[in-house]
Symmetry: C2
Subunit: 311 residues, 2 copies
Amino acid sequence: MNAKRLSGVLSPAITSFRRDLSTDTERYVRHAKWLLANGCSGLAVFGTNSEANSLSVAERMTLLEALVIDGVPAAQLMPGTGCCALPDSVTLTTHAVKLGCAGVLMLPPFYYKGVPDDGLFRSFSEVIERVGDSRLRVYLYHIPPVAQVPISIPLIERLLSRYPGTVAGIKDSSGDWSNTQALLDVFKGSTFDVFAGSESFLLANLRGGGVGCISATANVNPGAIHRLFEQWKTPQADDLQAAISTTRATIQQYPMIGALKAIVAHYGDDPAWVTVRPPLMELGADKSRSLVAELDQLGFTMPDLALCDRQ
Amino acid sequence: MNAKRLSGVLSPAITSFRRDLSTDTERYVRHAKWLLANGCSGLAVFGTNSEANSLSVAERMTLLEALVIDGVPAAQLMPGTGCCALPDSVTLTTHAVKLGCAGVLMLPPFYYKGVPDDGLFRSFSEVIERVGDSRLRVYLYHIPPVAQVPISIPLIERLLSRYPGTVAGIKDSSGDWSNTQALLDVFKGSTFDVFAGSESFLLANLRGGGVGCISATANVNPGAIHRLFEQWKTPQADDLQAAISTTRATIQQYPMIGALKAIVAHYGDDPAWVTVRPPLMELGADKSRSLVAELDQLGFTMPDLALCDRQ
């Protein structure tokens, strides 16, 4: 994979579906390009907010290829490749490495609960060994509220010790700052990069030695989040943090994925974006209106999105 | 699918792997045939204890075909086909219907937690509509301790009302008898079949109007469980229940899947059976020895298993 490490603001790009629930590649690529043109330094495609686990392995590979073929630099891509089934994780990770992606964001297998760290070590280890490519960079995806299978610090230490060039970092979506702080403390001065799982912790993460954030709401507010990343050492950093936290808190009152799609549909003047795959539900007209009203009150904008979507 | 409904003792047949973690079709088919010859009326292949979610879609289809090609009647098969991704569930369910399976056992999509019943209804509904085959019989798979996504009674009522010929029953693996009792009460006199998720509740389930059990430990103790199913109206029913509950409780002290495989490996004199896919771990020599010692003390046997495995 690419020699340069990713840092800054990454978006788990939302995935567009047609009314019949098939993937909509054209809209998908457009949104990805808009994100990179508007503050994202990279795309953590196929994350939780991308509805990745609602996609088949073949659909993920097709979408990833579409991005690269259409000119999105693979060096800015960190696709999610961790599945319940080892062969699927190996297939997706191998595919990402061959395309030249900067790294992969790897969920633990998430069906069985309460599995021992030994079993999780074996899972990540089998994927790394089977992919067998020195270009591979694995970012671990810690999201216990959803996956219900945590990635502990002792597990990370063990993986780092066994695969020092390969295990590259973590996205901490625990929502628990004390866990992020512990990661920063333990891996200080190492090559292990800590991304906060939300821009609410971006400033704290950068001050603690972290490298950025990978955040759902970077799908709609990448510019303001990026501004904080650029200016985090300046006196206005706390104000910038407060502003993006307010925007996030507003969106977070609603079911996140439906809300993100409703926002892109509204500000991009492109109603087709609202579609989600089951088991998720669309946000619906009433909630969308109130969300947009709240965002308008904050002076929220998505520059050139409609322009981009009308291309 | 087959006109005759399944009832009695079904086993979520364990899946055999080679040392390199590839699926071992020959052992798999042998064990399936042993189960049907020793008390199981059907096989709920690709359940939780089959490590189904550790298999790719292609691997599941290959194993299912191998069973049918090798003479296991499709009318005795209820494969698990519920995945996180709608296209995968549709692919597996269509495949099972085309093979003539008696039904499918369908997990809800289990990545997102806290999803509304509307979203789960839409999930099951999309699969049923897309498969679009009147032979389809769906058994819902309620296993909140693992999937963390429950299937509520109001959701079942809604599905039954919309797809009365198709939604055929449930496996209740909640481990909560009050939930099974509620299912029996609500769906009494309907065509909705209730399977207990463990033989510990088999007698209570049959007395309450249920049709049998689908139980992990039916992989190793099908004969005794089947005996209770045959004799549940006789005076010895409570004694038969007590005996199989004791066997289950003994096994359940250990991690279930590793334990089942260790038992088959030991009593079938076939050490290759112990392999599990990560994130699970093998039971290990020490625990296997103590488990076998405890089972021997109970007079536990697996008739003709070694014979069968040496064929």
